[in-house]
């Protein structure tokens, strides 16, 4: 019975605004709470956005998360450093390579391991392929949130699929890759990998041009996203936002450029930045980064040196299959390290505290999806429901990474 009354009331004031939604304060109406999620097509997983509405206008937005919380930080304290690598696949499952990389880089920093050149290039190549796959998804899903009926997503899947094939050739998995190892990568790429990768790189520019044609100047997408969810540069920095969202707000900050890791210091590329900080700019930045990633890949494939792909870990205590693969267990020195990379979603950092044992004493994931949600309330309040969906889409969260 209460339900009934509640809905009736909601109906009443909602209609008032639907009639005159821009009329400001003329009719006072009671707020009306709508839950977007946890089961909803636009929350990209089990994420819940509790919107308090005045008609279609958002008065308050509250995030409820944790539906996918798997307590990885606690679990990781019970496993060896190598055993923790699969966890990093399962945080950002759309960009497992970069997740691996950030973690192994943090451990390498802790142990002061220098990675062989070929492994550095492999890491770079894999990260950039992953970035293309992830950004393609982000762009497609964003268009979907704008209301395009699956078509952009499906087109993006076409490219992502080929990249996943490449991953499968390199490491046998498509989604949870577990490819990076502390000291290098798990194995070298097979000989037929390079030709296939080059073939893909030849195809991609055409596809990217197609996407730019279709989406960049699509008037409906512009109408839906320009001027929506504006995050100024100062706000973006203050809210610890990172990745395309930070660059969309016009801050030229890319860890690949600012603090080069892997082989990025040897490669030539640009940082794509927006100027308005709105949803459209975030999307434009992602589109431009597709091109930049392609540019990096072209160079990296040409420059790829030969040699070992794995560095022996000096303090390894369990090395079951000889020296060729990464050790199962080792004991890093006491200390702490914060390793970070530019994942497709932003600054992905792993904060590892070691007490000299075989497992991390503290294993913290600085996940960009999670922290990029901080300004969501700021962006949503005053917008409409449709805008909130698009804003959430432009943040490009992966719930596995938000909840961890």
């Amino acid at each position: 019975m209460t339900l009934r009354r509640d809905s009736g009331q909601a109906l009443r004031q909602d209609s008032g605004q639907a009639l005159r939604r821009d009329s400001g304060q003329a009719i006072k109406s009671e707020p009306f709470v709508v839950n977007i999620g946890p089961q909803h097509p636009s929350t990209h997983g089990v994420f819940r956005l509790k919107l308090t509405l005045d008609g279609e206008r958002i008065l308050d937005a509250d995030m409820v998360m944790g539906y996918l919380h798997r307590s990885m930080e606690k679990l990781a304290e019970e496993r060896t450093y190598t055993q923790n690598i699969p966890f990093t696949d399962r945080t950002d499952y759309l960009a497992a390579m970069t997740g691996n990389l950030a973690y192994v880089m943090a451990v390498e920093k802790l142990m002061e391991i220098e990675v062989p050149e070929r492994a550095k290039f492999l890491r770079t190549i894999m990260s950039e392929l992953q970035r293309i796959a992830s950004h393609a998804m982000a762009i497609g899903i964003f268009a979907n949130d704008c209301g395009a009926w699956q078509t952009p997503v499906m087109h993006m899947f076409r490219d992502r699929e080929k990249i996943l094939d490449l991953f499968e050739m390199a490491c046998g998995a498509r989604l949870t890759l577990n490819y990076m190892r502390i000291g290098g990568v798990s194995r070298d790429i097979p000989p037929e990998w390079m030709p296939q990768a080059r073939k893909l790189l030849k195809e991609l520019p055409k596809r990217f041009a197609e996407y730019e044609d279709l989406l960049l100047s699509n008037e409906i997408i512009i109408a839906r996203s320009r001027g929506v969810g504006v995050l100024t540069a100062d706000e973006a920095i203050a809210h610890s936002v990172s990745g395309p969202m930070l660059r969309g707000s016009g801050v030229a900050w890319d860890i690949r450029k600012a603090d080069p890791y892997a082989a990025y210091d040897q490669l030539d590329f640009d940082i794509a930045v927006g100027t308005n900080g709105d949803v459209y700019d975030r999307f434009v930045v992602r589109l431009a980064e597709l091109r930049q990633s392609l540019h990096i890949l072209e160079q990296a494939l040409d420059m790829m040196p030969s040699g070992p792909v794995h560095e022996r870990v000096g303090t390894a205590t369990v090395q079951p299959w000889g020296q060729a693969v990464a050790p199962l267990a080792f004991r890093p020195p006491v200390g702490e390290a914060y390793g970070r990379i530019e994942s497709p979603r932003g600054e992905l950092g792993y904060y590892i505290v070691s007490d000299g044992g075989p497992s991390p004493f503290r294993f913290h994931i600085r996940s960009p999806s999670f922290i990029n949600l901080t300004p969501l309330k700021l962006l949503s309040v005053g917008a409409t429901v449709a805008d909130a969906i698009v804003i959430l889409g432009s943040v490009d969260i992966v719930v596995g990474e938000v909840d961890r």
């Binding site: 930080e73 080069p260 267990a329 044992g357």
Partner: protein
Amino acid sequence: MTTFVTGFEIAGQIDAKFPGAVQDAQPEFAAVKPEKLIEVLTWMRDDDGHRYRFLSSLTGVDRIDWFEVAYHLESFQHNRKTTIKVISEDRENPKVPSAVPVWPGAQLQEREAYDLLGIVFEGNPDLRRIFLWEGFAGFPLRKDYLNMPGGQMAGLERFPGEPGVELSGRGTE
């Protein structure tokens, strides 16, 4: 290339500005006294020599005897990063000042640290559980959460197959 400002360096600079504010300095970090924390962080954010405007990461660590909160700071202007820590000696009810007034971006991360570690950030406008539901018993990321019988703590002492190594102090308390 981002320069990492070591704990000694930043501790020296803080000490020059706020005498007595630094509690500890290590190569990786400088620990600041809780009562001076907000002052120091605000100064680090606004001072032209530092401009650490970006709070890269905020996280709590349960050190068994004490709690600490680590702030990984980033300066876009100077391309520098550094780590500040604040230590809460109170094991049962750790309390540190909230960094939200300095960086709004600390909001969700402080909620996370509160949710999983039980560190209370005084001054945080909206300190609620974030991943776990309200009423969840205990703070799961604490080392003593659901201890095994015999006082054994969570954490790996020795990996199967490892030759007998001297055990560190952890695990048998």
